[in-house]
């Protein structure tokens, strides 16, 4: 049986001049459904690159990526868009909310190409916003919300299509430690509810919550330990 997520000898070389170094250099990985993986490493180690390739946001220079048995290299641009919508929820360090939309509208954005009544979309958004702890703030603009609240809105947006996989790139990077803990609690809850979570983080506290830690160095997997890595990393 295929693993849930599988990378086979994935390399990524940016640009096309021969001198540029590989951002990812022959990475092979298998991740099972329901894992909570933290990815660590020095700046420039290739963490974000790995995450965007996993999320179908870019195509690797070589190697194969498959998820739920689907080879991503076989998908067209629109096929990848559908894949992202149905399978992946992205959470960014900088939230990337649309500043001119309220919290509710931001959560509704991924549903806007869908043929659904506006009422149904709004109800779904409100339910998600209260599930991430923001009831009553649906009509606020991002500029009227704290950083932690913005990240909650972004998480609610990522959950709109109920994707099995959440990809988060330093989701607590812009937050103070208390607020970061609250966000990490949310991720733990989502993991318990069955989501597969891959999170790039510098926050050591997070290592204890994860089921697996992967450390990248110069585009290669330097350590991959289901249980011990967190303690060694300390």
């Amino acid at each position: 049986m295929d693993p849930f997520i599988h990378l086979e000898n994935v390399s990524m070389i940016y640009g096309n001049n021969g001198t540029s170094a590989a951002a990812l250099d022959g990475v092979s990985l298998s991740i099972d459904a329901g894992e909570y993986v933290v990815i660590t490493g020095e700046s420039g180690a290739g963490k974000s690159t790995l995450l965007t390739i996993l999320g179908g946001l870019q195509v690797p220079s070589s190697g194969a990526v498959s998820m739920r048995g689907v080879d991503l290299s076989m998908l067209s641009a629109d096929g990848l868009a559908d894949f992202r919508r149905e399978t992946i929820g992205f959470i960014f360090q900088a939230y990337h909310l649309l500043p001119y939309l309220s919290a509710r509208e931001n959560v509704m954005v991924p549903m806007s190409p869908l043929r659904m009544s506006g009422r149904a979309k709004a109800d779904r958004a409100d339910a998600l916003l209260s599930s991430v702890g923001l009831p009553g703030k649906e009509d606020r603009l991002p500029s009227e919300l704290s950083g932690g609240e913005c990240q909650r809105v972004a998480i609610a947006r990522a959950l709109v299509h109920d994707p099995p996989v959440l990809l988060a790139d330093e989701p607590t990077g812009n937050l103070d430690s208390t607020t970061g803990e609250q966000i990490l609690d949310l991720f733990s809850g989502l993991h318990k509810s069955g989501k597969t979570v891959l999170m790039v983080t510098h926050n050591r506290a997070n290592l204890f919550r994860a089921s697996r830690a992967i450390r990248l160095r110069d585009g290669r997997v330097a350590e991959d330990d289901p249980f011990l890595a967190p303690y060694q990393a300390l």
Binding site: T52, L101, S112, P113, R157
Partner: protein, 383 residues
């Protein structure tokens, strides 16, 4: 929240940009609609004049020494009785095969004769037909209704120092001045106008006619055929379709239309370019936002339709308001162009809105395609 609403919200957020984008279309469509509806009104007015006022055919004797066009006919004191046409010819003209298409057949006789001691050219007209044949005449007093009445051209009235109610004598005959003609700019300003039978008597030229003016009934009449048929009926006459005031006005309108189309085309091209530039700028400015939308699963078509909706909203609002302003401008300006009954010409406005929408959408095509072609990571470098 749907794509349409997302586009609208985005526009509201970038009001200045939206206004700037729309301004090009607004000005372009405004100019186009104003010029197009002015042209349409002018054409309508000219058509009316052609139908109502137009004497399109002149019938003169085939005489070498007589140059064509009555404005040019010079008449010396004695050689008045030059007319070789007679009142009988009117019946011949009125019995041609296309007689149903003739509206007026008006005889005129020009004769030099004395009026209260001074030499004048008298113009004999058919009193019954003159109102229709010269509808632009503005007469203070009244027109001639019976014999022994005259209308004085403005200069003649001044020279004789007579007004309505006065009397003009010629030989032993007395004529009551029925009215005075407001200046027309034509030769009749210096003439004394009377019933043709009186002028025939004065000129000792019974039944004589200098020329006939024939007005056909419609703008697209087979004028050439009518000319040929009258020529056949009157072998001794020269029959020519005349270019008259109204027709030269028509040429002016044609010129104006060409000018208007040229100006509109330039303004509209600039408007399209402005849409292109501003939408392109907005795409560049929003690369990251577009990347986020791609990341949450927007297909390329959804990005395209988002940008088309944005541009569509702008061009709808700006072309509708441009068309409205253009119509109002045309209405206000129409008196300057000599249009008496300026009305609303709806078709230029509709065409204008259609052009504005088309322009807005066409201008958005290249940037929208560019946006849709961005790879999502290129779009969110900052991930």
């Amino acid at each position: 929240m749907n794509i349409r609403k997302l586009a609208w919200k985005n526009l509201l957020r970038r009001k200045t940009r939206a206004v700037f984008t729309g301004l090009g279309i607004f000005l372009g469509i405004g100019t186009f609609v104003a010029l197009a509806s002015l042209t349409a009104q002018m054409e309508g007015a000219v058509r009316d004049k052609l139908d109502k006022f137009g004497a399109n055919i002149l019938v003169t004797p085939r005489a070498e020494q007589l140059s064509l066009g009555f404005g040019d006919i010079s008449l010396g004191g004695a050689q008045v009785a030059h007319a070789k046409l007679t009142m009988e010819d009117r019946k011949a003209i009125e019995s041609i095969a296309l007689k149903d298409r003739l509206r007026i057949v008006a005889p005129y006789l020009l004769a030099a004769a004395d009026a209260s001691g001074k030499d004048f050219v008298w113009m004999g007209v058919s009193a019954a037909d003159i109102g229709q044949a010269r509808p632009w005449w503005k007469i203070s007093g009244s027109t001639i209704r019976e014999r022994e009445e005259v209308i004085l051209g403005s200069e003649a009235a001044a020279a004789l120092d007579k007004g309505p109610g006065g009397t003009v004598t010629s030989g032993n005959r007395k004529f009551r001045v029925a009215g005075v003609l407001a200046p027309t700019g034509e030769k009749e300003d210096a003439m004394v106008i009377a019933d043709i039978r009186d002028v025939q008597a004065l000129g000792k030229n019974p039944k004589g006619v200098t020329f006939f003016e024939v007005a056909a009934l419609c703008k697209d009449c087979p004028v050439e055929d009518i000319v040929a048929q009258i020529g056949g009926a009157l072998p001794g006459a020269k029959v020519s379709a005349i270019r008259q005031v109204v027709e030269s006005r028509k040429a002016a309108v044609d010129q104006f239309r060409k000018l208007g189309l040229g100006v509109s085309a330039i303004v509209l091209a600039i408007a399209g370019l402005m849409v292109f530039v501003t939408v392109m700028g907005s795409v560049q400015e929003r690369t990251r936002e577009i990347g986020v939308l791609r990341a949450v699963g927007f297909r390329r078509r959804a990005i395209l339709s988002l940008l088309f909706w944005e541009s569509g909203w702008v061009s709808l609002v700006s072309s509708v308001s441009g068309a409205a302003v253009g119509l109002i401008a045309a209405m206000l300006a129409s008196p300057l162009f000599g249009i008496e009954r300026g009305g609303i010409a709806p078709s230029p406005a509709l065409i204008g809105v259609a052009i504005g929408m088309t322009l807005g959408l066409l201008g958005a095509i290249p940037p929208a395609r560019k946006a849709a072609a961005l790879s999502p990571t290129e779009a969110i470098r900052s991930l």
